[in-house]
Symmetry: C2
Subunit: 359 residues, 2 copies
């Protein structure tokens, strides 16, 4: 296999089984002749699927006996999962055989294993999961993190998230000087929890330094996440996960309401025929499958988490994202940013966690 | 004024000024001949508006010199706002002249003043703000709280919210045995923050008692808020506010995407003509103006907070909600539920905050 960008794939994660995953690989392979795959899972099943999809030339299959269940506790997965498809998927990145790991499996287990197999990048206190969130702006997306790597985040973590998220916005959205906002329940200084006011000071201080390559815009609210006020929204993993799932639920609710509305009467069904192209156009724009993938930031190696329920289209989007990460040396560049931050933090007189801004 | 259900209205709150509010009153008055109003604000302006809308017979006007600004700190509003429209709106309920208070003003200030003017109902540790959230179910809505009365909530508060929210579901949605869920980032016991696991135990214990009039369904996730898994979603005010505003932002984003899709080409604009009725049908169903109003739970008196940006239609919905609260003796019945809870809590051997469930 002489492909430049080898992606290591966990074929056993996700709710739809290996067939949807191999279908997604085939979709991506048709559009991109630079990628190759190492795919982990039930070799017998995978060989059939890979042959059927004509992927044998660009795909190595590795048999792994175990599977991490979707509801397995991360601690259990770490202890018992050393022969799982997920573990070996990450190992292929650790050994350098693949450039990026991709799994639709259990998020908590994947993060815990990633930290063990790939280790945190130097200077990183806590890795985070970032997503591209559809937004009303020229680039079409905002970066939002943390989406659930950890339910807590102190001011230092939130600053790290801001730095890593800004790098994602630079590489993924082409925004050179990303605007960063801190998610809160209002925009006035006194709003929200005490720790947020402290993080607000830390971020103000950081962004005010000479040569800072992000702009801090202060607090933002939930309705700013799909907006154009900032490019990066920073929050703890608890709040980020609630926001993401609430948005998914809202979008699904509206999709259903729209479908019901057009199915209501013969006339509305007739109207639907004329509206179909427009509806599809809108659907494409808000389709969660179009950008499928939480990106793990702050590790020595690139990891993408695909949505557990992703179909072939969704999984192919995750492969595209993984490919872009490999191509831009994404995880190395994020690691450099954090190392720079850590170096500044350790310089006397610049302890951003301790110095309070003037705001 | 001999109307049975007098609603005390703050005409100076909100972003659109008194005209939108008086228009909303007129809309409601056309549909409902049991309501009357005491309206607080700039009497000169209000007299003109009230006369123009033909409301003079069912509307008392009270001149109040001050206005609480939308961005005023609650503490400042409490000190300096004793002659504001908001303060006097609440006073009319405290004195018994009106059955329910309604304001589109600053939420934090309204809650702080409500606690001072109306006081907490006996046994209530912390009042909460609840909303009806459009959901995919026969009743069309779920009750979600707290939406921002307080950014923190301990297990005891969350139990109180569950009890008050369940009463809202009974009175507002006609669900006799409401199913309650605790908002978290996953459904497994180990997920989320430590305090949530404690609240989970407290709720399990409470719901398992004989005669409990709510069913506890454990953790729910963001995507369950608009679903049919539970009828009441309980969370702290920080998380609730983020979820609500994220949902609002998502809905606005999709509305815009839909509009853009239909405006894309002459053919899509033609298609839009046929789709119009269906789109309007959907829009009605998800229209946030249709149920406008956060309901304050746990006070000696009924208070409804209308959305700050509400237009006449939105404000009229808030009046409808206020009327229903008055008609069902809502705040008294919620207070009874909490008093019952407090009595149980004080019974030796039933200290729900201390006893851990077996789950």
């Amino acid at each position: 296999m002489s492909r430049d960008f080898v992606i290591s794939i966990d074929a056993m994660g996700g709710d739809r089984g290996p067939a949807a995953i191999v279908d997604g690989m085939a979709r991506s392979a048709r559009k991109n002749n630079e990628i190759g795959f190492i795919v982990h899972g039930d070799a017998e099943k995978l060989e059939k699927l890979v042959r059927k999809r004509g992927l044998a030339d660009i795909c190595q299959i590795r048999n792994t006996p175990d599977v991490v269940a979707m509801d397995e506790k991360p601690s259990v997965a770490m202890r018992k999962g050393r022969d799982s498809s997920m573990w070996h998927t990450l190992q292929a990145v650790a050994t350098g055989e693949a450039r990026v790991a991709l799994s639709s499996g259990n998020t908590g287990a994947l993060m815990a294993m990633s930290m063990l197999v790939l280790r945190k990048a130097p200077g990183v206190d806590r890795p985070a999961i970032a997503v591209l969130w559809p937004a009303e702006k020229p680039q079409g997306f905002n970066v939002v993190l943390d989406m659930g790597a950890d339910v807590r985040a102190d001011p230092r973590n939130l600053l790290e998230y801001a730095v890593m998220g800004a790098e994602y916005a630079r590489l993924g959205l082409g925004i050179q000087q990303p605007r960063v906002g801190l998610l809160n329940v209002g925009t006035e200084k006194t709003k929200g929890r005490a720790q947020l006011a402290e993080a607000d000071d830390v971020l103000l201080e950081f962004a005010a330094r000479e040569g800072a390559d992000l702009t801090y815009r202060g607090y933002v609210e939930g309705n700013d996440i799909p907006g154009d006020k900032v490019d990066v929204v920073v929050t703890d993993g608890f709040t980020g996960n609630i926001a993401l799932k609430t948005a998914e639920g809202t979008a699904a609710f509206i999709r259903k309401a729209l479908k019901d509305a057009f199915a209501h009467s013969p006339l509305s069904r007739f109207g639907a025929l004329f509206a179909l192209t427009s509806l599809k156009r809108m659907q494409r724009r808000i389709d969660p499958r179009r950008v499928n993938g939480g990106v793990f930031l702050g590790l020595n190696g690139a990891v993408v988490k695909s949505h557990g329920g992703a179909d072939a289209t969704g999984f192919s989007s995750a492969i595209k994202l993984a490919f872009q990460m490999a191509k831009t040396d994404f995880s190395q560049r994020v690691a450099q940013q954090v190392a720079k931050l850590a170096a500044e933090r350790d310089t006397p007189g610049a302890e951003s966690g301790a110095v309070r801004g003037n705001a």
